[in-house]
């Protein structure tokens, strides 16, 4: 069911679409649906997913690799539009991280040393921060790729979803704070002078930190940062490029929500946050809406279905209406008059293959 047809105009116009939403609202599915719809309307689409559900990944034919993988589009008899193409990939943060290090390290030797560092191995595989940052780094790479004219980015699935947008600034702040000067240099000095002497010299700052975490960890972290210095500067540069890309008018942010109070609160919060960071929110996808029914169908259901089912349907219909109404009212969606709101009906079923996904992608 279509509330606004403008979604097709948006899919034609934009170069980047960033899908944002709380965990569990079907962001990955919504991203795949928009990617398929755009590709079937002639665009050459790259879909970058982060940890998609297994079955969705297999429906898209996504392997474990992070390289872009061509997805076979289904033919649609109803549409006379020329087919574009769809490539999809899953973010492999370690691979992107490694590539970034190789790209920015001053020498092969330093790159190798970084790769061997236990702190690097921990940071590149375990942290949620780098995951978000790497998603952006990969986005930046993909925008340079001549094979694609639309990149759809499915953002990390958690409540800190927007941290990834702040990540470049965190790295920037890290440099500006002169953490290097405050902490690393005393640490280097410590190697020569010893901890006691250092504290004696009045370096209370590093001393306080060291007494808490243990000196050895502080030192290895300091050494690691020194090793990473140029790489961090490289990351910082990429971060700035990404911010520029995200602010471009050819980039759209689409919020994904489901009709529950929790999702409504999240969506309003996310849209306020985005607005605060001066990012443009262009539309809203509401997933898992109850299939619509006519009054006649509903009254027939009252006669034929168990009371528990009728109670469920009534509660859900009333709730959905409230949530969608509130979202309409409260979202700080772009300054444009037309708000794109796409309502996707709950399928009750899973998507086993591209046929199912394609059908759904053309249903709104």
């Amino acid at each position: 069911m279509t509330i606004s047809p403008d979604i097709d105009a948006l899919l034609q116009d934009k170069k980047i679409i960033v899908m944002v939403g709380a965990g569990g609202v079907g962001k990955t599915t919504a991203s795949a649906l928009l990617a398929i719809r755009a590709a079937m309307a002639g665009r050459r689409v790259a879909l970058l997913s982060i940890d998609p559900a297994k079955r969705l990944a297999s429906a898209l034919g996504l392997g474990l690799g992070h390289e872009m993988h061509a997805v076979d589009l289904k033919h649609d008899e109803r549409s006379a539009l020329p087919h574009g193409s769809l490539h999809a990939s899953m973010l492999d943060q370690k691979a992107v991280f490694d590539r970034m290090v190789r790209l920015h390290a001053p020498s092969q030797k330093i790159a190798d040393r970084i790769m061997r560092d236990p702190l690097y191995r921990a940071a590149s595989t375990n942290l949620s921060g780098p995951l978000e940052y790497m998603a952006l780094a990969r986005l930046q790479e993909l925008t340079q790729d001549k094979n694609f004219d639309l990149v759809i980015l499915d953002t990390p699935p958690d409540t800190h979803a927007l941290d990834f947008l702040k990540r470049p600034n965190i790295l920037a702040g890290f440099m500006e704070n002169r953490v290097m000067n405050w902490l690393i240099k005393p640490v280097l000095a410590m190697g020569k002078l010893g901890l006691g002497r250092l504290i004696g010299l009045g370096e209370k700052l590093a001393g306080g930190v060291a007494s808490l975490t243990g000196f050895s960890a502080l030192r290895s972290f300091g050494e690691f940062l020194l090793l990473m210095q140029e790489v961090i500067e490289g990351f910082h540069k990429t971060g700035e490029q990404v911010v520029a890309i995200l602010r471009d008018h050819k980039t759209a942010f689409i919020l994904v929500a489901v009709p529950t109070r929790a999702a409504e609160r999240s969506a309003v919060f996310l849209s306020d946050q985005l607005a605060e960071m001066d990012y443009r929110v262009d539309g809203l996808v509401i997933n898992r809406c109850l299939p619509t029914a006519t009054e006649a169908e509903l009254s027939k259901m009252v006669e034929t279905l168990p009371a528990a089912a009728i109670d469920f349907v009534n509660a859900r219909r009333a709730g959905e209406e409230k949530v969608i109404g509130n979202l309409h009212k409260n979202l700080s969606i772009s300054r444009k008059k037309n708000r794109i709101i796409v309502r996707i009906e709950d399928q009750g079923a899973d998507f086993h293959d591209m046929d199912g996904l394609t059908l759904l992608a053309l249903s709104f």
């Binding site: 929790a262 859900r316 899973d350």
Partner: protein
């Protein structure tokens, strides 16, 4: 209503319950309902979350409370623990180093340094839970802490952090304290993990993969699986038998029939997996269609109409 049930026994016997599961399946709602049930049984409950934005207070009709323990209902307090607050309390209250905190550690630069240390925020979070349950003055200690935890993957990183720190070469008070936290989390009589899922094939297949991983990697062990949003039973035959002649089922009816069938299949699949963990709670909660907030004080009676799923 839930007195004498397996759920009541679980709530009254533990000090700390982590509630986890895939995103968006109702962890927060289930956590709050459990807290209500425990409070109704006379326990003093603390509901903990760790979110960029408070989720729990709105279910009680309150404004965000942030990192401040706030009474939400009779017998229930809530707090949204954040890493800066946890860190401050660790240094000032636990290590008793108010002066060091004020002169050194409150420094913005030092704080930003700490934000970059892998695993520190997680360690502080678990340490804070340990402190709340086991260390602080008895009269200020809740009987039960329910931690509305991060979604599956992040929950696993949270729970595996102490092990990583113990093996990381860190030294000093943090290492000693992390070991204590680890010992606390391993106390099966006091600490447990409740996994929440929904009866959908995709969600259940994730659960089937994830349950053994929790058991293997988390120091706190699995003590319950709660299946949220079990749809009303609707079968094709009941619907067809009663349908007027020539009438076709609507898309909505078909949706209900299909969802009901899928739910049954998913539950069968999950049941097999849960059998690997003998003695754990296995509970089903029905799909209420929509839950508006604030919740009624006895909302738990509506949600926790116990339906044990063991065969």
């Amino acid at each position: 209503m839930i007195q004498g049930t397996a759920l009541a026994r679980l709530l009254t016997s533990r000090k700390l319950l982590f509630v986890t599961g895939k995103g968006g399946i109702g962890k927060t709602l289930v956590s709050v309902a459990l807290a209500q049930a425990a409070a109704a049984a006379g326990l003093k409950v603390l509901l903990v979350e760790n979110s960029s934005r408070d989720q729990i207070p709105s279910l009680f009709g309150m404004d965000p409370v942030g990192h401040n323990e706030t009474i939400a209902a009779p017998g229930i307090s809530c707090i949204n623990l954040n890493s800066a607050g946890n860190f401050r309390e660790y240094v000032t209250k636990y290590l008793g180093q108010q002066k060091m905190f004020d002169t050194v550690l409150s420094h913005r630069v030092v704080q930003s340094f700490f934000n970059t240390i892998p695993g520190l925020a997680e360690a502080m979070m678990l340490g804070r839970l340990f402190y709340t349950c086991d260390i602080r003055e008895v009269d200020q200690r809740p009987d039960l802490v329910i931690c509305d935890s991060p979604a599956s993957g992040h929950f696993l990183s949270l729970m595996t952090t102490p092990d990583a720190i113990v093996g990381s070469g860190l030294a000093g008070p943090m290492l000693r304290d992390t070991q204590k936290v680890l010992d606390f989390l391993r106390r099966e009589d006091d600490v447990g993990v409740i996994y929440v899922c929904t009866p959908e094939p995709l969600v259940v297949s994730e659960a089937v993969d994830f349950l053994p991983v929790i058991h293997q990697k988390s120091p706190a062990k699995l003590c319950g699986v709660i299946v949220n949003r079990i749809p009303p039973a609707v079968t094709a035959t009941t619907s067809a038998q009663r349908a007027p002649v020539g009438g076709e089922d609507s898309a909505l009816t078909n949706f209900l029939i299909e969802r009901s069938a899928k739910s049954k299949t998913a539950l069968d699949m999950l049941r097999v997996s849960v059998q690997q963990f003998p003695g754990i709670l296995f509970l089903g909660l029905r799909d209420l269609g929509f839950v508006d907030d604030p919740l009624a004080l006895d909302f738990y009676r509506t949600l926790l109409t116990e339906e044990t799923l063991h065969t």
